[in-house]
Amino acid sequence: MISVQQLLVRQGDFELSSISFEIPQNAYAILMGATGSGKTTLLESICGLRAVSGGKIWIDGDDITRAPPAQRQIGYVPQDSSLFPTMKVYRQISFGMEVRGFSQAERSQRVDELASSLDITEILDRYPRGLSGGERQRVALARALSFRPRLLCLDEPLSALDDDTRSNLTKLLKKIQQSESVTVLHITHNVEEGNQLGTVHFRLEKGQVRAVVCEDSGDKNTA
C-alpha cells in the first residue's frame, strides 16, 4: 500500500499542496493531468529526487518521506529512459543489484529472467546508443525492476513511441506488472493507455489531486 498524505512540494512559484491519495497493493495506478500540472514533480518527490516541504509518504507502513532515494525501494523509469551511456544493457540491468550487493549468480539469473520477459535478450551486449525508443524503454523498465522494488514509478514511458511500439509495450507493461506483482504509479497523457492499464486513476489539477476514480468500486472522491 502506497499512501501519500497532505504532501506539500514547493518549486519557485509553483506549489503542490495537500496532495493525498492511496494506491492499494499490486494496483496499477494511472496519474493524469495537463502539462505543467506537477505530475513529474509529484513522482520525483515520491522517488526522493525532490525535497518535500510537508506531508508524509508511506510505503507498506514505512515512512519514507525523508529517506534517501536509495533506501525507498522504488523503481523509476523517466520519460527519456536516462540509460547510462557507458554501460552495456546487461550492466544497466544488473546495476541496481550490483550496488545493493547481490551476488553475481543472483544478478545473472535476474538479468536473464527480465531480459526474457521483456524480449531484450538479443541486445544485452549492446550500448544504449543505437537502440530504438522501444528497446530503450524496455531496458529502462528491466533496470527499474531488477532489484524487486515495492513501487514502480513510470513517467510517460510510452509518450515518445510510435503507435505499434506503444501498443506492444502497453501489453508488456500489463503482463510484467502482473508477473512481478509490483505496485505501479504510471503518468500518462493518453486516456486510452490509462484505461487499458489502470486499475486506479488519479487526476492532478492546479497543484492538487482533484478527483480519484477507483475502477473496481466506481467510487469518486474529491480531495
Binding site: Q11, P69, A70, P78, S82, T86, M87, F95, F147
Partner: protein, 288 residues
Amino acid sequence: MSVFGVFYLALIIALLVADFRFANWSDMSSLLSDPRVQFSIWLSLISCTIAAILSLWVAIPTGFLLARLGSESMAQRRGLQSPGSRRLFNCVRYSIDTLLDIPIVLPPLVVGISLLVLFQTPAGRWLDERTGELFASLGYAGIRGITYEIPAVILAQFTVAAAFAIRTMRNTFEQIDDRPERVALTLGASHYQAFSMVALPQAWRGIVAAFTLAWARSLGEFGPILIFAGTARMKTEVLSTTVYLNFQFGNLRGAVSASLILVTLAIVVLILTRLLTLGGNSKNGVIV
C-alpha cells in the same frame, strides 16, 4: 573564418617559422648535449606530469561538485524552494567559483610572490621543514624543503594548472546530463557510486583535456617558478627558465633553441590529445 582569424593564424605560423629559421641544428644539438639542459628537460617532463596528475586529482571532484551544485536538480533535491535560499546558495557557489579562478587571472609573478610569502608564515615554515625531513628520510637529502627546491617547481606549476583543470572539468560535467545519476540513486547507488560509476566514465575525454591543459600550462609556467623556486642550474631549472637564463646571458640562439624544444613538446601533446579524443562530441567530449 574571418579576416582577423586568418591574420591570427598567419601570425602563429609566422612566429613558428621565424623561430625555426633563426635556430639551426648545430645550435640545437649543442644545446641538447648540455647536461644542464638535459636536466631541465627531464625536470620539466617530470614536474609537469606530477603537477598535471595533482591538478586532475583536485579538478575531477571539484569540477563535478561545482557543476552539480549549479544544476537545477541539485537545488530541487536540497529543497531550496524559496528565492532567498536559492540566492544564498548561488552566492556561495559563485564565491567559490570566483576564488578558484583567481590563479587564472592573477599575474604569474604575483602567484610566485604569494607562494613565497605563504611559506614565510609559521605554518609555511613548518611545512617547509617537515617536507625537508621527509625527503631526507626517503634518502633525498638534497631536497631540503619546498622553497627554492624541486617541490617549489611542482607547487608553482600546480597552483596555476589546477585552476585551468578545474574549469575544464566543471565545463565537462556541466555538459553531462545528470538524470542518469539521479536514476542511479533510485536504483540504490550512493552519491559516490553515481559519480564514479555513471558520471565519471562519461567524462573521460574531459579528463584527457584537463590533463593536457594542466600539463601544457605547467610546461609554460615561468613567473611563479622564477620567484618561488629560483633558477638554480641542475637544481630547479626547467625549460622555461632555460630560455630565460640563455636570454639573460645574451645567448639568443640558445634561448630560441630551448623555446623550440618547448614548442615541439607542446605540439606533440596537442596532437596526442586530438588523437586520443578523436570522435568525441560536444555532449561527452573535450571542452575548452
